[in-house]
C-alpha cells in the first residue's frame, strides 16, 4: 500500500524505447486464447464438421444400392466427405467477431486503444492472430472431417480417396489453409463497424450467403461476371472448385487474387473507419 515501489525523483527525460509491433501481436494472442468462446468455437467446429460429414456419409453408404449407375459413377469421395466442412468453417466467424465485439461490450476497447493508440496496429494484430488460428484449426478440422468420411465410405465398400491424392490435398489442406481466414477477417471488420457481436455475425452471413441464395435466380452470364467475384464464391472456387462444375466458380489463381483484393478492401476500409471514428 505504500508508494515505495514508485521510483522517486527520477528524471523523466530519458527516451522510452519505441513499442514494437510484436508487443501488440503478443497481447492480442493472449486475449484470443483467454476468451472462452475461442475454445468453444473450435470444439464446436470440430464436432459439427466431422459429425455432419459422418451422418451424410453414412446416409450415402446406406442408400448406395438405390442410386442410379450415373449417380454412382459421379460419386466423388473427396467432395462427399467435405459435406460438414462448411458448417465447421462458418463457426470461425465467431473467432474474429468475438475478439472485437467483447471489447466493445465491456468497454475494454478504450484500454486497448490507449495502450496502442495507432489503431491500424491493433487491427492488423487481430487479423494476424485470428488468421493463424483459423488456418491451423481449419486444416486440422478439415483433415479430421475428410478422414471420418473416408472411414465411413470404406465401411460400406464405397470408393475412397487418400490425402496423398493431388485433388484431395488441394481441397482438404491447401484450399482450407487459404480460405479459413476469410470469414474471421470479415468478422473482425464487421465487429469494428457495428460494435456488436450479433449484428456483425448477421452481416458476415449476409455477405457470404445472400448471393448464393439469389445466384441461381439470375442469368448465368451475371453469375459468371458478378457473383463469381464475391468473397464467398471466390473462397469456394479455391477450396472445392476443382471438384464440381458451376458457372459461379473461378480459376483458383484468379480466385486467390480476387479474395486477396477483398481482404485488402475490408481491412483497409476498417482501418480508415477506425482512424476517423472516436473510440
Amino acid at each position: 500500500m505504500s508508494s515505495a515501489t514508485m521510483t522517486p525523483s527520477q528524471t523523466f527525460d530519458a527516451p522510452k524505447p519505441t513499442l514494437p509491433f510484436t508487443a501488440t501481436l503478443a497481447s492480442e494472442w493472449t486475449k484470443l486464447v483467454t476468451i472462452r468462446s475461442t475454445w468453444i468455437t473450435l470444439s464446436l467446429s470440430l464436432f459439427f464438421s466431422t459429425g455432419i460429414t459422418a451422418l451424410v456419409s453414412w446416409a450415402t453408404g446406406w442408400s448406395w444400392s438405390d442410386l442410379s449407375a450415373t449417380d454412382q459413377a459421379d460419386f466423388n469421395p473427396i467432395l462427399s466427405s467435405l459435406a460438414g466442412s462448411m458448417f465447421g468453417a462458418i463457426l470461425f466467424v465467431v473467432l474474429g467477431v468475438n475478439l472485437v465485439a467483447t471489447e466493445y461490450a465491456s468497454g475494454m476497447i478504450r484500454q486497448t486503444m490507449t495502450v496502442t493508440p495507432r489503431r491500424g496496429r491493433v487491427l492488423l494484430a487481430k487479423v494476424l492472430v485470428v488468421s493463424a488460428v483459423a488456418m491451423v484449426a481449419g486444416v486440422v478440422v478439415n483433415v479430421a472431417t475428410f478422414l471420418a468420411g473416408q472411414a465411413v465410405f470404406a465401411a460400406y465398400d464405397l470408393p475412397t480417396a487418400s490425402l496423398g491424392d493431388g485433388d484431395a490435398f488441394r481441397s482438404v489442406v491447401l484450399g482450407m489453409a487459404v480460405t479459413a481466414p476469410v470469414l474471421p477477417i470479415l468478422g473482425i471488420a464487421m465487429a469494428f463497424l457495428f460494435r456488436s457481436a450479433a449484428i456483425a455475425i448477421t452481416a458476415v452471413l449476409a455477405i457470404i450467403f445472400l448471393p448464393s441464395f439469389f445466384g441461381p435466380l439470375i442469368p448465368e452470364r451475371w453469375q459468371e461476371d458478378v457473383l463469381a467475384f464475391l468473397p464467398g464464391n471466390a473462397s469456394n472456387s479455391i477450396a472445392t472448385g476443382n471438384l464440381s462444375d458451376s458457372a459461379m466458380y473461378l480459376d483458383p489463381w484468379l480466385a486467390a487474387v480476387v479474395l486477396a483484393v477483398w481482404m485488402v478492401v475490408f481491412i483497409g476500409g476498417t482501418h480508415l473507419m477506425l482512424n476517423r471514428r472516436d473510440v
Binding site: M1, S2, S3, T5, M6, T7, P8, S9, Q10, F12, P15, K16, P17, T18, L19, P20, A23, T24, A26, S27, E28, T30, K31, T34, R36, T102, E103, S106, G107, M108, I109, R110, Q111, T112, M113, T114, V115, T116, P117, R118, R276, D278, V279
Partner: protein, 328 residues
C-alpha cells in the same frame, strides 16, 4: 507537461468542449473541476487520443498522444475503471496491458502491491466492488511508471481509508516530479489534494488558478457561529466589520471577522458560544459563483437559488451540507 491549445470537441450540434487552452505543469497536482456533463471526461479522452478534437490540439511534452513511441510509459490514465472484461482476473488484466506495452511482468506484481490488490490478484474483476475496480484502474495508470498521470474521478466508490490513500498517492506522485491531472466534481476532495485548479462549465474554461487564490475568491474567511445569545452578539460583530447570515438552526455564518476575533469579542461581552468553526470548504462557494451560468440542466426560469441550482450544489458539494451552501 500537458498543453491544450484551442481544444474543441463538437458532437453534432452540441459543443462538449469549447476552445480550452491551458497548461498542466509537472511537480504539482492539478485539479480539473466541473459539474457533470461539463466536458471533463471528453477533454481527458482527447488527451489520450480516444476522441479526435474537432479543432485545436492537446499535446504531452509537445507531442500528440498517438505519436508517442511508448504511450503508456509516457502517460498513465485511469479514465473508466469499469472498462475491463469481467472474466479476467486482476493479474491477467494487468498482464495483457503490460504485454501490449512491452512492460516486464514483474512490474505487474509491483503495481498490484502498490494499490493493495495483491491479495485479490487472482480474483475475477467482474466480482470487484467499484472501489476495487478504481484501485485496479489506478494500477493500470501506474503500470508504465509514466511522468504524466491522468485520473478521472479517482475517489469514486472508495471508502474513507481509500480516499486518504488516493490523496497521499497523488501528492507522492507530484512530489516525484510527475504531472498529475485529476478530475473531480467533489470540491472538498480537490481542496485537500490539488495545488492548482482548472474549472470548466459547459465546455468552457472558467478558472485557471492556484488553489489558494481560487478559494480566496470564494470568500475564504467564513466562520460558523452558534450561540444561544446570537442577537446580543450580532451588533458587536457588525461593528467589527462582519456580515452575518443567520440560519434557522440558531447559528449564523459570519463573514469578514476571523474566528479568533469572534471568540475574543464574545468573551469580552460574556456571551456564550456553542460553536465556532472556521469554514475551509469555501471552494464550493467559489465554484457555485463561477458556474452559476454554466450549469447545464438548470430548470427554466430558476435563479441562483432555484431548485436546479440547489441540486447542482448538492452534486458538486458531495458530502458537504447543501443547506449551508445555498444559504450563503
Amino acid at each position: 507537461m500537458i498543453t491544450a491549445r484551442g481544444l474543441t470537441k463538437r458532437y453534432g450540434d452540441k459543443l462538449a468542449v469549447d476552445e480550452l487552452s491551458f497548461e498542466v505543469k509537472p511537480g504539482i497536482v492539478t485539479g480539473f473541476l466541473g459539474p457533470n456533463g461539463s466536458g471533463k471526461s471528453t477533454t481527458m479522452r482527447m488527451m489520450v487520443g480516444l476522441d479526435t478534437p474537432s479543432a485545436g490540439t492537446v499535446t504531452v511534452h509537445g507531442r500528440a498522444y498517438r505519436d508517442l513511441p511508448a504511450p503508456i510509459q509516457e502517460v498513465g490514465a485511469m479514465l473508466d475503471a469499469k472498462a475491463m472484461e469481467s472474466r479476467r482476473t486482476a493479474r491477467q488484466h494487468l498482464r495483457w496491458i503490460a504485454q501490449a506495452a512491452g512492460i516486464p511482468r514483474q512490474r505487474v506484481e509491483e503495481v498490484l502491491d502498490t494499490v493493495g490488490l495483491a491479495d485479490v490478484a487472482n480474483r475475477k474483476v467482474g466480482g470487484f466492488s467499484l472501489g476495487m475496480a478504481q484501485r485496479l484502474g489506478i494500477a493500470t495508470a501506474l503500470l508504465g511508471d509514466p511522468p504524466v498521470l491522468l485520473f478521472d474521478e479517482p475517489v469514486n466508490g472508495l471508502d474513507p481509508e481509500g480516499i486518504v490513500w488516493v490523496r497521499t498517492l497523488m501528492r507522492q506522485l507530484a512530489a516525484d516530479g510527475r504531472t498529475v491531472f485529476v478530475s473531480s466534481h467533489l470540491m472538498s476532495e480537490m481542496q485537500e489534494t490539488a495545488d492548482h485548479v482548472l474549472v470548466i462549465g459547459q465546455g468552457r474554461l472558467i478558472a485557471d488558478a492556484t488553489m489558494a487564490s481560487f478559494t480566496t475568491r470564494g470568500g475564504g474567511d467564513d466562520v460558523w457561529v452558534a450561540s444561544p445569545d446570537l442577537d446580543a452578539l450580532a451588533p458587536f460583530l457588525r461593528t467589527a466589520g462582519g456580515a452575518i447570515a443567520p440560519d434557522h438552526n440558531g447559528g449564523a455564518l459570519v463573514t469578514g471577522v476571523k474566528a479568533a476575533h469572534i471568540g475574543e469579542i464574545a468573551a469580552m461581552h460574556r456571551i456564550t458560544l456553542h460553536e465556532l468553526t472556521p469554514r475551509r470548504a469555501s471552494l464550493e462557494t467559489a465554484f457555485m459563483e463561477l458556474t452559476r451560468d454554466s450549469v447545464e440542466y438548470r430548470a427554466e426560469g430558476s435563479g441562483p437559488d432555484g431548485p436546479a441550482t440547489q441540486e447542482a450544489a448538492r452534486i458538486l458539494a458531495g458530502q458537504t451540507k447543501v443547506k449551508e451552501i445555498t444559504n450563503v
